[in-house]
Symmetry: C2
Subunit: 245 residues, 2 copies
DNA sequence: CGCGATTTTGAGAGCCGTCAAGATACGTGG
DNA sequence: CCACGTATCTTGACGGCTCTCAAAATCGCG
């Protein structure tokens, strides 16, 4: 578990324009709050379902997947964690994670001691507010996924998921030359959408044949996002400036 | 929109043992924060999807349903709001609700002005923390529903939903003589579980025939909750003391 | 007593799941 | 640079869980 320290004030993420700017006092506090950084390889389990972690994390780089499993092995992906997302909040609040988290790529995480979360609320209410904001945003993402899994057809689900994730990557500046480095497998996508792997593959093949998505290996490209959104019967919300801790 | 005022310190809900006790200062603040009460009939739309409400609500009595819809009318219920639950937090944070909320029974709601939510964080960090707690709890409930809709069979889904809602009602002291006043229709249950009404009805009939659930009209009774949980492949988490605003 | 909402039931179709096998890509060691 | 094992992706066949359509039976309520 190698750790190192980079000053928050030099953190390149605060400068992305999808994130809200912090003032100097807040940054100073976060720098003090920060315990270190954590680097993990792709495939590393970060937090298990039910885990009671002493740390809270913010994703700096990389992707992770959040999922729950039934005892017999059936797995359902809840969501994906990308830069700016919090990992481990539930453990901080309830002493137990409701889902497991696993790295999909090499990741760089910012580590905060959970026992000090409380002082964050006391000393910087604005940051406490930000934590609520992020928790509520997770709730909103989950709601969209629930609508997708509950009421969209297989074709719509796949269109929705690819459009959605491409959009998130795009907002984070991860799309270069129209391409996104996409660490999701079809098996993962199937578990995200409540579909079987085989049916996911066949439906995806059709979407690909129609030219709506171009996904080979780890490279995802979406020629016409609006067209894909139409297929998914989805509409983009207005972009929000998010807090970044 | 009739309103009246009852002192928070006399609010009977703080005494339920599923809720965390507030100290005198907190109660005094909430009393000041509180704008009034709202009484609505069953069937009243409280907040629409995308609504930007000036108020935030806490449910005092009654049930509401949170749902999202696709443009062609397909509906997915996210969750049910019961006493102690917050309604309208997303509007306070994002200027728009991600889901609609509608009363299923006559309801009594506590009304708070959204513009003062911020002062709550400033002046009573402990209450700001509680808001985060409640938001994160919603997230957790949504996760369970997503697992259910994505990976459980129709039989398991119905068993899960009835067991889950009966459990929540029970924790709130709503179960009397083993019976819960259950304002959910089969059509609503179908939309909760991502199933069709017809299949929901037939699967439910089987569960009923086997004696696992006794649901007639608005009265829900579950002879053996553990047996139903086994069918649902679910397990109860440890009961948590929740904040109540 | 009558009307709308809700629940039931039956029939038939289809979307999607399961099983099975092969093809392709990828990482590793020789 | 090639061989080989593993992960991932494809494809085909078949079955069934769940959907849709349709209509009747009940319930709730004024």
């Amino acid at each position: 578990m190698p750790t190192r320290r980079v000053a928050c004030r030099e953190c390149p993420h605060h400068r992305l324009d999808c994130f809200r700017a912090m003032n100097a006092d807040e940054i100073a506090f976060m720098e003090d709050f920060k315990r270190g950084e954590l680097i993990v390889d792709a495939g590393t389990p970060i937090l298990g379902e039910g885990a009671n972690s002493p740390s809270l994390y913010t994703v700096l780089t990389g992707w992770a997947v959040r999922y729950k499993t039934l005892e017999d092995g059936r797995r359902q992906v809840m969501n994906y964690a990308m830069p700016g997302d919090l990992i481990g909040l539930q453990a901080s609040l309830f002493d137990a994670m409701g889902h497991a988290v696993e790295a999909l790529t090499p990741m760089l995480l910012c580590v905060f001691p959970r026992e000090n979360v409380w002082t964050l609320y006391e000393r910087f209410p604005s940051l406490g507010f930000d934590v609520t904001w992020l928790a509520s945003r997770e709730e909103r993402l989950l709601e969209e996924n629930l609508l997708t899994v509950g009421r969209r057809s297989a074709r719509e689900r796949i269109a929705y998921a690819l459009w959605h994730l491409f959009g998130r990557g795009s907002a984070l500046g991860l799309v270069k030359n129209g391409e996104l480095d996409f660490p999701v497998t079809q098996a993962l996508l199937a578990d995200t959408l409540g579909l079987s792997l085989v049916h996911t593959n066949k439906t995806l093949a059709r979407l690909r044949g129609e030219g709506h998505v171009d996904w080979r290996g780890r490279r995802l490209r979406i020629p016409d996002p609006d067209a894909l959104a139409d297929i998914a019967r989805a509409r983009a919300g207005k972009p929000l400036k998010r807090p970044f801790l």
